[in-house]
Assembly symmetry: C2
Homo-oligomer: 411 residues x 2
């Protein structure tokens, strides 16, 4: 019988993890058990949740002090028969963390997908290899940048920023996630302008740059809008998945006409992942779930900047996106915020070849402008991959030299 | 200029709330300000976020101990021009709590909707009055009950439970939120069986009972499925809105063909609301937002049971759903979990006339069965509204007497 196994981190004041685990396993499936007649037990056996394991963890003094009581901290694993739910994340989340999300100190840490279930989720349509194919870049991390201070600006501003970034050797330029449909830079116009600019820069540089347009508006307009974007020549979609729903991203990914990469933005995701005691783990929320529903690239806070994630959490997300899977292609991790050229060797060491180096201020803030900012990153990437210290590479590359002076040397 | 004002509870280690507030106001709108040329400031003034107020709160020793540093606790209010986003919750949430949700200890406490914006959200289609019209019940709180241990059971079991509840005088019977489409009790069959049973019980009792079918499956199937449900005679929809998205509920509510009440379930909602430091307040998440997008009834944890919400939080949700609004109809609060007949006077005092008394075990667990369980509640409601002590009413009502013996007397 196929089951999904959910792992919960619990802080239990009742000091009886076994009882708590059993009450979860029953409460989220058949409701009751020991008081049922044998014939009912026979019928319901296939639907009953099972406690897989209970692991008591060392006392968490910090938590005890905070809650002002002695708590047992532990990891509980429960197996839920897949026959209990339809093969969609709304049903799965409702089962394994619906009512339970409201029931005290419990965090959903992990959720496995048995192969039969995993196959019912699309995974990335293009994935790492597909995105690399589009760019014809196979041997280095990709370089991404973000429009900066675009709110309230017009298409001329948009075009100028985009051109500079593309000329700087940036592989992907993404919309600001807070740029919605608006009269100054309407959705379709942005795509048209970007298409023209990027065709032009490709002629100049010989390198392709992909523009990720922010797919926004009401949910039931998104499929048509995404198809229109493809038709107009959009290269990729940026999507604030957590303000819509994981299943909405899945629908975008599953639509064969929407054959461009989807870049999932973590906006609002911190509302679910930030607490130690509640919500869902970073690796599950930003990692496994987004890969399952079909994100090709996933942004999340880098472990270096001011909006920072603990390094373990950031690496955990990247691992979920890139590890081997029988069912899903790999997706690009895009650790973001606080990235400048001096961090490139560290990024390469931490996130490996199949990752995206993504900068905003680290490109636009370059003293010689965004194109030079892009070039500084590309120079840093080339040096780091050849194990040449950035300070040495900077001797031959003035853009990199400036960047190192601006943001400090190699970390 | 129309603006939305967001209120954040922050714990700031930088000890400079003013600086933090300014960085939020700029970072989530125009990006930068003081270093901009005057001509750019001129152009961007209409788009710039503004700090409305900064209120430092007393030191929170518990938080300082937990984080092991001195934190300034405060409430920050920021105004965002509505011209910055489209009038949909994904855009609004991305603006006011997108990136910010990932940026340290910050919780979104409140978000006002200026009238012009509120009018672009539907609010409840039927609301309190519309649901009362359907039931022809105007002078008492409604009584709701839940199928119990329905997973793994067939349509005969479903029919038997539904009939007993309806005969007990229950106004609304809702599906278990973890019951999805399945071969034993398929979606359409449940509606057909319920329609037949409830037409029959109405003949017997003279009272109408509404059945809320769980609307599940992939997002882009939901509109058609909901219309099919209406066509087959479903009385109401149960919807696990937080595993889909607030905007999905809005689409259901806005569709004129889906002219039946929508009952929003809080499943997974606790992942966003439970922490003191992160996420969104209960009153906003379960209250204002669900009313804005069109829930007619909203379940949330009662302040009485084992899966409990603090009383202030539960009352805060109810207030958001029922207070006067120029733009939206009122919605029914449905405080749930741990409800039995002896709590009815307390429920009436706390949640007033326009609320729903909702029980699972408190109805099905009645020694004389679910019909008697329902009757005990109705007897308790009648007594409580007449200010008659339950113990006195129980002398004339054996079902209530049994319930009081089983669950204890009036609280």
């Amino acid at each position: 019988m196929s089951k999904v196994i959910a792992t919960y981190l619990v802080y239990d004041q009742k000091k009886n993890l076994a009882k708590k685990a059993e009450s979860i396993a029953l409460g989220l499936t058949v409701g009751s058990w020991t008081d049922l007649p044998a014939i009912d037990q026979q019928q319901l056996r296939l639907y009953k949740g099972e406690v897989v394991s209970i692991e008591e963890l060392p006392i968490d003094q910090q938590a005890d002090t905070y809650f002002d009581r002695e708590l047992i901290k532990g990891l509980i694993k429960i197996a839920y028969p897949t026959r209990n739910f339809s093969a969609d994340l709304p049903a799965i989340l409702t089962t394994v963390f619906g009512k339970l999300s409201l029931d005290g100190e419990v965090k959903l840490i992990d959720l496995d997908f048995p192969v039969e279930l995993a196959k019912q989720f699309p995974g990335p349509k293009l994935g790492v290899n597909g995105v690399r194919e589009r760019l014809q870049v196979f041997d280095r991390p990709l370089l991404m940048s973000i429009f900066k201070s675009i709110i309230g600006r017009d298409l001329v501003f948009f075009e100028t920023q985009l051109r500079a970034q593309a000329l700087g050797g940036v592989d992907l330029v993404k919309d600001d996630e807070i740029l919605f449909d608006n009269t100054l830079t309407p959705f379709e116009e942005r795509i048209r302008v970007a298409r023209a600019v990027l065709n032009e820069t490709e002629q100049q540089t010989g390198e392709r740059t992909l523009y990720a347009v922010n797919l926004t508006g009401h949910t039931f307009e998104l499929l048509d809008k995404a198809k229109k974007a493809v038709e107009l020549g959009a290269d990729a979609l940026l999507f604030n998945v957590f303000t819509y729903g994981l299943d909405v991203l899945q629908a975008l990914s599953e639509d064969p006409e929407i054959n461009i990469p989807i870049l999932a933005h973590p906006a609002f995701g911190g509302a679910v992942t930030s607490s130690t005691f509640y919500g869902v783990s970073h690796s599950l929320w930003f990692g496994r779930f987004l890969r399952a529903v079909g994100a090709d690239l996933v942004l999340f806070p880098s472990p270096y900047g001011s909006v920072a994630l603990a390094k373990e959490a950031a690496l955990g997300i990247a691992k979920e996106l890139t590890q081997d899977s029988a069912s899903w292609k790999t997706a690009f991790p895009v650790p973001s915020a606080g990235i400048h050229p001096a961090l490139v060797p560290q990024l390469l060491a931490d996130f490996q070849l199949d990752s995206v180096i993504n900068a905003g201020g680290g490109i636009h803030g370059h003293e010689q402008g965004a194109a030079a900012g892009g070039r500084a990153f590309r120079q840093a990437i080339t040096a780091a991959q050849a194990n040449i210290p950035l300070s040495q590479a900077a001797k031959e590359h003035p853009e990199l030299a400036t960047a190192l002076r601006q943001w400090g040397g190699q970390k």
